[in-house]
């Protein structure tokens, strides 16, 4: 999936990945690629502005550490972010399940 289609859902994906624990940017992007079997393909640098926006909105918090002589920022889901993810995950699941039921359809019975 190219960036254009993915960008509209990137925030939800980032919240979902961080629900499993704190991660730094590179790890988040790596996880995004791995969980999607490399289907989600967008310029990696565009993930950072989204992380910063989510942090500014109170959905994430971050802290700096030093690793191998480099400064590293690690992001963590806040309570507000966890709440938002929960609501939107339920809505999304309901929607995709309903879509699946419609798309699969039911076998038309054979006529005698």
């Amino acid at each position: 999936m190219r960036g254009q289609a993915l960008k509209g859902h990137l925030d939800l994906l980032l919240l979902a990945i961080l629900a499993d624990g704190a991660r730094h940017g590179y790890a988040i992007i790596d996880e995004l690629r791995e969980r999607s079997d490399e289907a989600f393909d967008l310029p990696e640098g565009t993930v950072y502005p989204a992380l910063h926006r989510l942090q500014k909105g109170g959905f994430l918090s971050s802290e700096w550490t030093e690793v191998q002589g480099r400064r590293r920022r690690t992001y963590r889901l806040t309570e507000q972010g966890r709440g938002a993810l929960g609501e939107q995950r339920v809505a999304w699941n309901n929607f995709t399940e309903a879509m699946s039921r419609v798309l699969k359809g039911a076998a038309w019975p054979d006529t005698p």
Binding site: E44, H52, G58
Partner: protein
Amino acid sequence: MARYALIDGYLDTMRTEIHGRRDLDDVVCEMEDHLYSAVEGLLARGLEPDAAQRTTLDRFGEPKALAAVYASTNTGGIAVPTTTTKLAGTAAYFSAALWIVGLIGFWASAVSPDRPSSIAPDALILDAQTITWMSFALASLAAGAIMLFVMVGVNQRHGGLGSMGMAGLIVTGLGVLATLVIWAVVLWLGIMALGLITFAVAVLRRGIAPRLWTIVWAGGPVVGATAFLALRWLEVGTPDVWGDYWIASSVGLNTGIIIMTIGLIGLGTWLRSEEPVDADTPALAV
């Protein structure tokens, strides 16, 4: 720690591209950590240093495009379709319809039998000319107000468009207010053009809304105001009793509004096509 020249050069370029941010050092530090982690990962998989750096930079993104994303992303909010954004899509249709109603009022006033050939003392009495002109003004004011709600929806769909998006929204709002002096076509169309272009640049930088419809929508008033000014400058046609150049006004107004409404309908269709994440499960047809 080993240094990589291509990565360091890229970081210098990014530092220049996004200069002026208070958190510039933090942003560049974060990029450095990402790029170096990625290069080290590729080196561990057996890539040569040069190839590892080029692959990493290809994946990270082109500096100018990335700088544009940074510039337009500075507010807090989740960029998802909601019931509000879907409602804004429906509002876009109403706004487009009202703009066309306004144009009909404009043309009705042009062909009105009461249209004066000279300014008389009773020129402002409630005749057909005045009524059609007022319907043009009121429909345009209502269409503009609804279009502002559409812009709020587009802003929300992007999780906020930052100060540039807000500036575009405010200036467009001033343009809508200026439709109260509806006869000053170039004034309100020009202000609206300025506001919509500013807003559209913020939208295009984020790359979520359809590029074509965004450009058509914001470009309409720009084309209209430019056409008006060009025809007015060339003095095409003869001035009417109020000194207005009717051809410049009508060409500018019609091209501007019609192009803008086409873009509005396109944007509205896009907003309506996305299922809101805050809505109940959609009902299945049984």
